[in-house]
Amino acid sequence: MLRIVTCFKWVIDDADIRVDAESRKLNLARAGYKISSYDRNVIEEGVRIQEQHGGTLAAVTVAPPTAKPCLKDALSRGPDAAWFINDPSFADLDAHQTSEILAQTVRSQIEFDLIICGEGSGDLYSQQVGPALAEKLGIPCITWVNKLTFDEEQKQIIAHRKLEEGMEIVSCPLPALVVVLPDINSPRIPTLKQVLGAAKKPVHDVNMKTLGKVPEAHLRTDKILAAVMDRRRIRVAGDAEGIRSVVNSLIREGVIS
């Protein structure tokens, strides 16, 4: 029986972020939260493999207790159970801490064959949690995956890795961790019955009492400011000469070659 674990993060909905034009500070007072869109692909991939091969599907997150609404959201997308690893101090963790907390929980509480993580989180996008978690669990890690299949006979996964220079197809025995790209699937929208059924699924509460020591952060955030996009306001005429000058400047700046 295939035991799948999907990791997800509850992040600020970037559509709700307001920026103060002068100070460039972010106003998050009315911001809502959502499951990081990369992690929706993670959960969908878990659901897809479970639909084909059976087994169990868990959703795991590390978050402050205020993130509780993330559980029904995640469970409405298909997983059988959720692990809610929470503490008020988990509001601002770095990838090193998150992967350590996940590793401790998975090692002590969750039996698994396959762990799926997203390419990066929708907020910090450090792209480190997946590989770091695999390292800490001592299992192989396959990154940049945009197609994933499970070979029941051989008990191995076959993953298509989308690399800069082409595709690489690898097979790997389980247990393993896979980091998936957003183009691996198109997440389904939860049905009404799935939304209503989410509350009936088990949630395992993991807190500091059950966790070991959480390491110190390696990263400190000093300041967050909105990016400013300066436009150059260059006017180009719509004739052949103008088109030539646009193409030339794009080549010069390495946009096209």
Binding site: P69, L192, V195, L196
Partner: protein, 379 residues
Amino acid sequence: MDFKLSEEHQLIRQSVHEFCDRYVCPIADEVDQEARFPAETMKRLAEQDWMGIPYPVEFGGAGADYLSYVIVVEELSRACAATGFILECHTSLASYPLFKFGTEEQKRQWLTPLCKGEMLGAFALTEPGAGTDAAASSTVAVLDGNQWVLNGSKIFISNSPVAGVIIVFAMTDKSKGTKGISAFIVPAGTPGLNIGKHLNKMGIRGSLTAEVFLQDCRIPKENILGGEGQGFKIAMMTLDAGRVGIAAQAVGIAQAALDESVKYSKERIQFGKPIGTFQAVQWMIADMATDVEASRFLTYHAAWCYDQGMPYSKEAAMAKLFASETASRQTDRAVQVHGGIGYIKGTKVERLYRDAKITEIYEGTSEVMRMVISGNLLR
């Protein structure tokens, strides 16, 4: 007192919003301009369990509350008012009478496929000579052996060209006035049931509306709903509940007008500044937002009363009255904010402006809403 939606209700809103972004918004303009029934969306609505939201799971429904249903209609209408209405008409007007007054067998046979989205439903009450005055109905039903024979004509029957079943109201005893009206379950394809050509509507053009003709249309005796003479009561109770759905549709339309106006006010530059920096526009946006919020609270409150098993007739009428007039008023403001471009087809506010008007008319006009509200206060 709690003004916060439950986690489930928030998730429902999120899922409908996502659904609309993916499937409804991209075709909304085409559905309107070509007056095309969005059949592909209907199949998807069924897959999402949205075709029988407030009805029991045993009859194919989702077993959710009325507020869930209201949220779905609101969000669908925010993207496409026609799509929101097709679902509203199907759920409130066609399915509700079956749910409330149908026998177990009728529910099994008709409510279940409706809730599963295997067929659409329609509701045929209005006649050329009997709009608000339902008692002036001239369609008649006569029992002939084991069959009812229906004769007459209905007008403005939404969903009728695509419905699998129509709830038809007809006089079984003209001398009794409203107490002589009965409701019947008429399956599509019954000989003698003919659907006229599609009416060319001003708004909600993706929803198909037509005349329905009954000429010696014979249906089985057991297809009467709720017993002889119960039709007026069935129609009034159905419309009471339906009004909350129309209020939700109006809230969705008004919200969309606000969304578009806020967006445009930030983008449109005049006199070197976004027009949203001018007080004249700011005030329109402020009024719009306040009206939308008030409409939403009235609508959710009416749905909440329904869910609590409390009387909701007055609350539903207030919600529909205020939300529909808000939709008309604020889509007008939204066109004003947009200026010339708001008058051009293909601009969303132009569509919203036309879509809004009907919410003041169908399932009880604003005038009838005021009668219902004052009647509750003065009797």
